[in-house]
Amino acid sequence: MRMPLLALLAKEPAHGYELKSQLELIFGEAYPAPNIGQIYVTLQRLERDGLVCSQDVVQTTRPNKRVYELTAAGREAVIEWIDKPSEGPRVRDEFFMKLALSPMAGTSDRLGLINRQRRHYLAQLRSLSELAVEVDRRIPKLLIEGAILHLQADLDWLQRCQEDFV
């Protein structure tokens, strides 16, 4: 949560609710919206680390609101984050563990294991496909497409496992 908030603040100073609605606007359904408490906790930690600073803005009709702003260290951190290549998604090691260790546990039906996993992935794939049809906005759509492709890769990998074990 830290870096997205920093990135949003790099554009202009904002208070907690503004950040929450911006996140929702950009990522939409693709991204489970964080609650406001989480956002404030994160912002306080960022301020403690010296990456943002804040000041209260007095409002006449409403309670005062706290507006956060990026510090020079914060700006540097954002640029460093954006420039650094990201790690790829990790292999679903849990299923791999199950596949590898199932004989020890007394169940050697690896084919059943693979099939169950495939059904699960296929169901996910179907949900994502349906979602992709409903979503119009670009950023969320791309995220869903990415998830679908990862799932397809997982399914291909299942096939590879099947070829080896069957």
Partner: protein
């Protein structure tokens, strides 16, 4: 069994197909069983060489099984002659292929009308059906073009219209998106979903799992054998979106 068979559009039991090629006997399909209910959309998937297309071709009578039984709408058909199969196809089956396979010397309209006429429609009915189908698929303007002048996606839509022209009991599709870009693939898949929603029974062969996941049921073929037959539960969404979507931030 027959009572059960009557509710099914298609049932196959123990289908096997061997080829004797270049001195080495190859078995493409070994003892496949499957069933398709009326109005059901079933996808057959598997890696290339798993025998998917051979299985589909046997089910459409394009290839004769080495052994096994096929029941179409309660009638046993695996022993039929080529000519009887031809009659079955023109009345009850529609085919869509990966390479579209439109009759090259006929216009788009002729391709669709030909199938309707083969299915027993009069000339007028065939023309009406053609106009209806091409209109639905957004191809009315291309009715009198030669197939070669159309893009791949358009050709496949014509092929789909042609397959639907005889109001088939069963639509057989062999890698219908295999030769299309992703955009055209989505259009064709959307159309398949639409005809399925109208109650069309579809049996589709594909190696593209995303296409397969649109079906009611996905049959996995591996090395000529059915290894899984998975009903696709309509998953509740979007509330239970899987964790794949969690951004690591």
């Amino acid at each position: 069994m027959t009572g059960d068979g009557e509710r099914l559009v298609l049932r196959a039991a123990g289908l096997t197909k061997g080829f004797a090629g270049d001195g080495v006997a190859v078995t493409a399909v070994r003892g496949a069983d499957l069933a398709l209910k009326h109005g059901e959309f079933v996808a057959i998937t598997g890696p290339s060489g798993a025998g998917k297309s051979t299985l589909l071709h046997m089910l459409g009578g394009l290839e004769r099984p080495t052994s096994g039984e096929i029941w179409l709408n309660g009638q046993r058909v695996d022993q039929l002659s080529q000519a009887r199969w031809a009659v079955l196809r023109r009345r009850h089956i529609g085919f869509v292929f990966q390479f579209f396979n439109l009759v090259s010397n006929m216009t788009v309209a002729d391709n669709v009308e030909l199938a309707a006429i083969m299915g027993g429609a009069s000339r007028k009915q065939a023309q009406a059906r053609r106009e209806e189908l091409l209109g639905e698929l957004g191809l009315a303007a291309k009715a009198h073009a030669a197939p070669a002048r159309l893009s791949g996606g358009e050709q496949q839509r014509v092929a789909l219209a042609r397959a639907m022209a005889n109001r088939p009991l069963l639509l057989l599709a062999d890698e219908p998106t295999g030769n299309l870009d992703s955009g055209a693939s989505r259009v064709v898949l959307g159309l398949l979903n639409r005809v399925h929603a109208d109650g069309q029974s579809i049996l589709l062969v594909t190696h593209d799992l995303r296409v397969a996941s649109a079906a009611d049921r996905v049959i996995s073929l591996f090395d000529g054998m059915v290894v899984d037959d998975a009903p696709m539960t309509t998953s509740p969404h979007p509330t239970s979106l899987p964790d794949v979507l969690k951004l690591r931030g």
